[in-house]
Symmetry: C2
Subunit: 403 residues, 2 copies
């Protein structure tokens, strides 16, 4: 992809024809923003990828149904934070449907053109009356300059909101892509992980839009991990309204996909940077794998290893832990041909350590944006994933989440 | 197995005909005990299970070779802590061979009748001169009452030594089984996990001894996890010297196996209790699985989940995390038929939460020895694994291990 992508500041309302709002509906006990509404001025083509968790939350079930019934046409997305509406039985399903129906009534569209998402504690009944009360407020607050408020309203333990936007030029015209996302624990692959909402003013036919989201998510949202968990609620939704007048076809696909991937990557890296208790962003590169699948598998194993994550937190260039995880990752691995680099410093190669380089690596690890690389010595495939370090703060956050 | 197993106090030198020693050879910088020697008065039949990690440490390679060459006959086991002798190339292999040869010289047996194990930091050269210096001291200290010293000498970050012993009666005669083990991070399944040494004065033919160790380890050492890691060095070794005069055959196998499993279970639970930063022992029971393999897989996923382990650490009856992990464990799962119990309190069943029971479960979680149970609602198979909670102390230990 040689397409030129221009990163711009912005979020879901940066593409033409989208308005958003973020308000407090009283779902969070602390009175924080907890209801986000995203509305498209006209019908948009929509694509979504959902969690692979089998304990599907009600909003995931409802959004999938709605996409299927509407043929992938959406007018609005309604999202609450503070309550996941997962494991809430028939009442939870009804609450998710009511949330969509009430939004549809305000927006004047069929209920199946509304997508729903929730995030927060599992197993607690959704306070649907508060959402009913908050929805007209959100509708009244809708604005093309309110994307940042919406990005704040979808946060749970996130330390900061995640927004990104980019432009690409197709047929001499600007196409804008914007998005917002929230983390920040339960972040892992299988697109089973977090909430992401991306908008674009390109017109993209259903099959190409589905493909673009699947491919972009695979190299971004599905290539990050905070704690290896996969939530009951995660989804990434993409709405394309065509307001730019640009129609994306096979020939123009690569340019659009490059812009979409850039926005998804920035959102995904924001999720990792804002991982619970995270103090460092770590890029894990695995090379020398027998296949790209094995490369990804080993990279994920390293990125999820408590021993690796704590060593990086402590600034310890403990390359032995990287080798040990590679060796148990369930992929082809040849110790005598393996290698480990921390930053650009080789610490293990040709079957022997280079401990004299350890102080250099330790100095490097004081940074905040780090790369570790492992060569499995077993082939020519590679993969990159992103993770964060593991701090005592992660334990504190997750031991005390509900108390 | 209806065999009566009597737990007794003791360790590796409790069975007749075994002597041990634990001394300081100067491998650990702090001068602590770091060299353990276990010697059998005559040749013993030996069995061992080794790590599944592909980055095999030198002592693992050497011990496997020796067992193969000697036909499974062993006279002595030499173990050092403070250095794993892993990822140390040809020099590390030579050091492991030298360690065995020097032990063989003192014990007056062929080198292949000596098994070797190491534990500690990966990628640091084994200080073989210090081991050479310490070996005669250890040999001089050998005693039938020195099992406890040996158990201390194999420790790294373990907060306490792990010993166990049991007796069974076969043909009217006492058969004694004793053991020692060390943890305490990098503890996971696939018998890829820790060091364990078990002795018995029964005579057990090779095939039965191999089977007994494999089966006992499967339900004990392979059913525990601290952090999901699998080290480069882990092994469990079992020596049977026949000093009791009892010969174990197929008919007497179940009784012997019951005693062996009891000793292995106590050692394995000791490893979990002494897990890095652990404050609670957690028994994870998964029922309602489609197969026993799926039950084990789901139980391991729950036992390794950071979100579950931190919730238990915080005393939070957050059953939603148990359901969420079961749903993403890659096994058959039916939310509407699933259930979660914390202790004996049902918190989720028939698709709905029982939050009124939450205070009862929270009270229960203040204890130190806890059970959580998840029914997957997908079949009739079950599995039990043991884990510990995850504390900020784990992070501190592993962030600062080498610094």
């Amino acid at each position: 992809m040689a397409a030129t992508v221009s990163a711009i500041s912005g979020g879901v309302t940066t593409p033409r024809g989208f308005r958003a709002a973020g308000v407090s509906a009283g779902i969070k006990a602390n009175g924080g923003l907890d209801l986000a509404l995203l509305v498209c001025d006209g019908p948009a083509q929509a694509a979504a990828v959902f969690t692979t968790n089998l304990a599907l939350a009600a909003p995931v079930v409802v959004s999938r149904e709605h996409l299927a019934r509407s043929g992938g046409i959406a007018r609005a997305v309604i999202v609450n934070s503070g309550c996941a509406n997962a494991c809430t039985g028939d009442e939870g399903m009804q609450a998710a449907r009511d949330m969509a129906a009430e939004t549809a009534r305000l927006v004047h569209c069929p209920a199946e053109q509304v997508l729903v998402a929730s995030t927060g504690v599992i197993g607690v009944a959704l306070p649907i009356d508060r959402i009913r009360g908050g929805l007209p407020v959100a509708f009244g607050a809708l604005g093309a300059d309110q994307g940042a408020m919406a990005a704040r309203a979808i946060m749970t333990t996130d330390p900061f909101p995640k927004e990104a936007a980019a432009q690409v030029v197709i047929d001499g015209r600007d196409v804008t892509i914007g998005g917002m996302a929230k983390g920040s624990g339960m972040i892992e692959p299988m697109l089973a992980t977090m909430l992401g909402f991306v908008t674009t003013d390109a017109a993209v036919p259903k099959t190409l839009l589905d493909r673009a989201l699947r491919e972009a998510a695979g190299d971004t949202f599905n290539a990050i991990t905070v704690d290896g968990e996969c939530s009951t609620n995660d989804c990434v939704m993409l709405l394309a309204n065509g307001a730019s007048g640009v129609v994306v076809d096979e020939m123009r696909y690569a340019t659009f996909a490059a812009g979409l991937t850039a926005v998804c990557r920035e959102l995904a890296l924001g999720i990792v940077r804002g991982g619970e208790g995270a103090t460092k962003l770590v890029t894990v590169i695995v090379a020398g794998a027998a296949s790209s699948g094995e490369a990804r598998k080993a990279a994920k194993a390293i990125a999820n290893s408590l021993l690796v994550k704590t060593a990086i937190h402590g600034g310890d260039p403990n390359w032995g832990r990287l080798i040990a995880v590679a060796g148990r990752a369930g992929v082809a691995f040849e110790l005598s041909r393996a290698a480990v680099m921390i930053g650009s410093t080789v610490l293990f190669e040709n079957g022997r350590p280079y401990d004299e380089a350890s102080p250099l690596a330790a100095e490097y690890l004081k940074g905040k944006d780090l790369t570790v690389s492992v060569d499995l010595g077993a082939g020519g495939a590679s993969s990159t994933v992103w993770t964060c370090d593991l701090s005592a703060e992660y334990v504190r956050i997750n031991a005390d989440y509900r108390t």
